[in-house]
Amino acid sequence: MGAVQPHIRIQTADFDVAAEIARLTSGRSDIGAVVTFTGLCRDEAGRLSGLELEHYPGMAEAEVLRIAGDVCGRWPLQGITVIHRYGKLEPGDNIVLVATASTHRQAAFDAACFMMDFLKSRAPFWKREHVAGGAAGEWVAAREADEAAIANWRK
């Protein structure tokens, strides 16, 4: 089995989850499990008109690739796809996709979870709120729970 090449995209455009699953599985008969995680923009009970996502071009791709590389070193995967959007997003829009393919489900679940935990605190993206009826609002503050999630993987 050759080394897995993570498929990483940082883009403004939306993504199609079914098409991304097909990209991982098409023409293969050795994959028994695909796990996908999709993160969406929410309106916080009507408070927000959307989110604006800023990123560090170059480093965002590089850091996501570094994390995906770690993931491939920890779990036996046949493929991993990570897509992260930036720019202005509205409630209901997709923000991020992580898809992992493996022979068995546990590796696919755990790999997707690790990928998201590290992406949240290590990939250089910043969210800013846009308040309903207003202009740009506050930058979203990092949550301690996100750092704790990373610490848990180190135990």
């Binding site: 800023e54 560090y56 480093m59 590089a62 992406l119 250089p124 993206f125």
Partner: protein, 83 residues
Amino acid sequence: MKLIYFAWVRERIGKAQEEVDLPAHVETVSDLLKWLKHRGEEYENALQHPEAIRVAINQEHVDHGERLAGAHEIALFPPMTGG
């Protein structure tokens, strides 16, 4: 040396990037944050809690104790909130 700022660090400093000549005594990330803080009110405002600032050298995360030697691009930004 090229410095790049993101999110509220960029907004408070009032620019996205700049070229600076670092004095010889600025050897580590921590030294750099201290030196920048004294460059004016906007820097003071952005860097008042230096421990909250995350830093990348040549597009890789580093700790504040990291040395600057070999750096050609240093980025300062708040804790990340993607995903």
